[in-house]
Amino acid sequence: MSCCGAPSSFDDVNEVSRLVTGKLAAFLATLRDNAFAVGLKEGEDAATLIAAGYAEKPGLLRSAFKHLFSARKADWEKFDGIFDAFWLGRRVKSRSLTMGSTKAANSPSLKSLTNKDADRPGSESVSDQIPSVEDAPEQRSGEGRMEGASRADNLTEVDFRKMAEPEQVEQAHAAAARLAKAMRTRLTRRDLARRRGYRLDLRRTIHANVSHGGVPIKLVKRQRKDKPLRLVVLLDASGSMSMYTGVFVRFIHGVLDEFREAEAFLFHTRLAHVSAAMKEKDPTRALDRLSIMAQGAGGGTKIGECLLTFNRGHAARVIHSRTCVMIVSDGYETGDAMLLGREMATLAKRCRRIVWLNPMMGWDGYAPEAAGIKAALPHVDLYAPANTLKSLTELEPYLAKL
């Protein structure tokens, strides 16, 4: 609908100045580098704006472009900086430029996140880990899964931190990805079996019975649309968890890929929303993008503060009535344990279930002594170990019941 006046005004701009158009194109490229979704239509509209005289004052042009190019709050907030840097030559806050820019993908902090060896060999193993479209139906029929289980058999009970050889780690990662896929198919099937309508829909009943002259023979019931289960994963990426993050990141990648609705967050001293990065098809590239966001990973953990950020900024959007929040952490809180308790209570009110996976729980002689985990436990619905693939598999029946 915005196309009506666009072509003619585009010509106008050409008459006014080719230079401006060139510069505008460069600006659009800059925006795209900064993860703005800017298409051709936006370019045309921008030209229209310049032709309409918005370029007389930089402040006005900035405000106009901001409305045109932003699509979400994050864009809205970083736009001014980018605009000033490009058109007015002011220095931009470095953070807004590196976010989402592909060049930074080789940042060294990647090492702290992914397993050292998963880095290189990972790129060649991609093809056999991600189930291709061809074997997806096979998986559903059950055969594929059986085969998968047997391949991972010898590894299911080995603690992740004791897996030393690259092949073993690779196998564990692949098994985690397969597990995520299997969980999704089964959950969905159970969803369908339970659906039923319960209230009469009068208008539709009449509509459906028009062919009987309006005599209501066939009744139409109002059906409640079942929301699919949504899984929100909060993964602890602090130093104390470093032996486990690799496998869980892989598991989360599988979950995001296969669940229709899933969100992932990473936390250490800050909380980062990583769903977008994890939706990358290729797991190695997903890890690369993740590493940019996880600056500071491997340090202490401020679970309470991160949960506060989550409850304030994200909870309303990502949590609905059929949401299971899965926290993967050892519960070593370096911040305020009281705050953690309070935020867990808030979170518990909002979502259906909280599952806390603690890899340390599988260790011999472990007891939940840390102040953080003690404060959090009263609000947790399921507290389970997650140090082996077997313990991850055992979660599935629980999630299916939700």
Binding site: Y54, H67, L68, K73, W76, H207, K225, A316, H320
Partner: protein, 290 residues
């Protein structure tokens, strides 16, 4: 631009105090003929923008409130089956073609908001409220309508828009909207107003609120928003509170601190927030207000 200042002035004349950026957004909306997507916390006045815009243009406001399960028959059009059946009974004996021509005519069509919005001779303001509450499927359907502005009804043919409405969408962020919809729209993030603007909003909306009281109320609300609250009060709550204070005949907040404290129920809407606001807290915040 003159255009933009004019819009701000005209909005102010109908009681909506807009900031410069919102005025720009509205002028762009008209220039580029794109819908405007407003996001922001609950109670910052997103819906009010549409109402004000309708009075500025002296046109009708057509509102589509979204909810889960909203579908085409509730949003676009539906045949009036009851009347159609009656008509068939009444014209028994007439030829089938005649009856068909009759019952599939405009008379038997129920217009829902989206169809109504494109069939008016003067472009109305179409407010699609809380689009985040509708399902993904509806969002996709809406996207199609917003780009073509035509509706095809199998029995009647394609109905094209007579005029293109001014479309405003609002979202509270309970669900992530699709990128396609976001790209289609201009975007404006509505934030809580600053003290000065909030005071002007109070004066515009509440009869009997003088400048000094309005500034005090706005200052107090700003301080309350900075506290650690479960539910941050929006502009609507501020207006309620201002109306309460004016109704209780308060001229200066410092005169009657106990009434100020008691009327805070207009602003604090959860048990925890209410419990946290002891009289000392109110007194401390009141101390910061000139």
């Amino acid at each position: 631009m003159k255009d933009r200042d004019q819009i701000a002035e005209r909005l102010a004349a109908v009681g909506y105090i807009a900031d410069g950026e919102l005025a720009t957004a509205i002028s762009l909306m008209q220039l580029l003929k794109r819908p405007l997507l407003l996001e922001g916390a609950a109670g910052v006045g997103k819906t009010e923008v549409a109402k004000a815009l309708a009075s500025v243009h002296a046109t009708k406001l057509i509102r589509l409130q979204c909810y889960e399960g909203l579908d085409q028959s509730a949003a676009l059009y539906e045949w009036n089956y009851q009347r159609q059946l009656l008509a068939i009974q009444a014209h028994r004996g007439a030829s089938a073609d005649d009856i068909e021509d009759q019952i599939f005519s405009e008379k038997y069509l129920l217009e829902r908001p989206l169809l109504a919005a494109i069939r008016r001779s003067k472009p109305p303001v179409l407010l699609i409220d809380e689009i985040d509450r509708a399902d993904d499927e509806f969002e996709a359907f809406l996207l199609e309508l917003l780009s073509d502005f035509q509706v095809s009804i199998p029995e009647l043919g394609t109905i094209s828009a007579i005029t293109i409405p001014h479309v405003i969408l609002t979202s509270n962020g309970t669900r992530e909207l699709s990128d396609a919809l976001r790209r289609r729209c201009l975007y404006h993030y509505v934030d809580y107003p600053d003290v000065d603007r909030e005071a002007r909003i109070i004066m515009a909306r509440i009869n009997g609120a003088g400048p000094s009281l309005a500034l005090q109320i706005a200052g107090m609300v700003e301080n309350i928003r900075k506290e650690d609250l479960r539910k941050v009060p929006g502009v609507a709550e501020t207006l309620d509170w201002a109306a309460a204070l004016v109704g209780l005949d308060i001229r200066d907040l410092h005169d009657r601190p106990e009434i100020v404290h008691e009327t805070l129920m207009c602003l604090l809407k959860t048990h925890e927030d209410k419990a946290r606001f002891k009289p000392e807290v109110t007194a401390r915040l009141l101390g910061k207000v000139a």
